[in-house]
């Protein structure tokens, strides 16, 4: 059962990737198991669906040590309906976990920005968990530059 759930999550992540990136979704993920595990730990039994959350990341990161990213989730942010958390995963980093934001209705809007490390060109995945347990996801492929001088 557990395995089935993970497979489902992986499939849905790939679907979300396919939605935003078209053909590039077919590329092989270096650590899909780790990413799926991290995703399952965050999302529980829910199946993430594309939409509602928007991840903004550069198409090209000038240096992988400092990559600015932002997330924004459509939500009224009231006591009855708000975003609980958003996690960011980088599937080809040594560890996929990057950061998890926890919001409250006092946040007003579910928006946050930070700067992250990317070991190489890869997909960055944002996953939002709402207070009703539903889960949404968005993915961006970020190309990490290669310097000119070989040294």
């Amino acid at each position: 059962m557990n395995i089935n759930r993970r497979n489902m999550i992986r499939a849905s992540v790939k679907m979300a990737v396919a939605g935003t990136l078209g053909l590039q979704a077919s590329r092989v993920m270096a650590s899909p198991e780790d990413t799926a595990k991290a995703l399952a730990a965050f999302a529980g039994d829910a199946t993430p669906t594309a939409g509602t959350i928007t991840l903004t990341a550069p198409e090209i990161a000038e240096n992988g040590n400092t990559v600015p990213i932002s997330i924004s989730v459509d939500s009224p942010m009231t006591e009855d309906s708000y975003v609980e958390s958003v996690t960011i995963l980088a599937e080809d980093n040594p560890n996929p976990e990057v950061v998890t934001f926890h919001f409250t209705p006092a946040s007003g809007v579910a928006r946050a920005s930070t700067r992250m490390r990317l070991a190489k060109t890869q997909n960055v995945i944002a996953v939002a968990k709402m207070n009703d347990g539903s889960v949404f996801t968005d993915t961006r492929n970020v190309k990490v530059t290669i310097g000119g001088c070989g040294g």
């Binding site: 198409e59 990161a61 000038e62 240096n63 400092t66 190309k143 310097g147 001088c149 040294g151």
Partner: protein, 288 residues
């Protein structure tokens, strides 16, 4: 890339080629203005001074990605400002046998240091050579504070230099080449700028004069101006000094590199700073 996709009439083959090559298509500096916090407009492009090999002097800011440019345009988000604020603490720190800080003599840097960052290297008669802000700080520490010199890139050297230069934020770079032997040092610096070094046999000019605006792999070559130094480099996630950057570049040609503050690098700093004449001091700039 976006531009490419808009031109639907482009032949399929060239479209594919550009897609393969990635970023390495749109050469040249971006046509945008650097306005810090929407208030302070920086001079990032200006007519070159007489005797300059290029027509226009352009800040390295124009060669960076939109995200990196945005980091510098917001003085809060600019991580180099952490270094500048640390520099202010060093400005006020009492050190040495005389019981003084920089502030003891120079008071408020916001008024006493205006223009300093835009006019160094300067001729220093007592040592008969040009000195930069780092060496001026050391002169003060030894002669007026009774403190030890800062070692290269150590302790307060980078933050304090950044803090002092930041007091000229937006002021155009202008050196006085009339004093002392400045012209001879300028000539020496020019010679070094064109000197090809190392196993790769490259000079500063090979990349930054002949090929600025082009990509070397994913790296967009700038004119190599130093008006943003010490600058925050995303790569090292910290402030990087001018001489550190010079040494890094020379090392990459697979050459032995001169010592920081050596005659060679002081001459080079003088010459390269002059090449950026008219550009606003951007310290702390943000670069890749």
């Amino acid at each position: 890339m976006h531009r490419v996709f808009e031109k639907t009439n482009v032949a399929l083959t060239s479209l594919l080629l550009v897609a393969i090559v990635g970023t390495a298509n749109a050469g040249g500096p971006v046509d945008e203005k650097l306005i810090i916090d929407g208030e302070l407009e920086m001079i990032t492009r200006t007519a070159a001074p007489e005797g300059h090999p290029l027509d226009e002097v352009i800040s390295g800011w124009h060669y960076r990605t939109p995200e990196t440019r945005a980091l510098e345009a917001d003085s809060f988000q600019n991580p180099g400002m952490l270094g500048v604020e640390l520099g202010e603490e060093y400005w006020n720190k009492v050190e040495g046998t005389e019981g003084k800080s920089c502030a003891s003599c120079h008071n408020d840097a916001a008024s006493s240091m205006v223009g300093v960052g835009a006019s160094y290297p300067k001729w220093h008669a007592p040592t008969s050579r040009p000195i930069n802000v780092e060496l001026q700080i050391n002169q003060c520490r030894v002669n007026n504070m009774g403190a030890e010199e800062y070692a290269f890139d150590k302790s307060g050297q980078k933050p304090l230099t950044a803090y002092i230069k930041h007091q000229s934020y937006g002021k155009p770079v202008k050196l006085d080449l009339e004093e002392g032997d400045m012209k001879a040092w300028w000539e020496k610096g020019k010679e070094l700028y064109y000197k090809r070094t190392g196993q790769l046999n490259l000079s500063c000019a090979s990349c930054h004069e002949k090929n600025n605006g082009k990509y070397i792999r994913a790296d967009h070559l700038s004119q190599g101006n130093v008006n943003g130094f010490p600058t925050y480099r995303l790569k090292q996630a910290g402030l990087i000094s001018t001489h550190n950057r010079f040494r890094g570049c020379i090392r990459d040609t697979r050459a032995e590199f001169p010592k920081a503050f050596s005659d060679e690098l002081m001459a080079l700093e003088l010459y390269v700073t002059w090449r950026g004449t008219g550009l606003s001091v951007e310290t702390p700039g943000v670069r890749q």
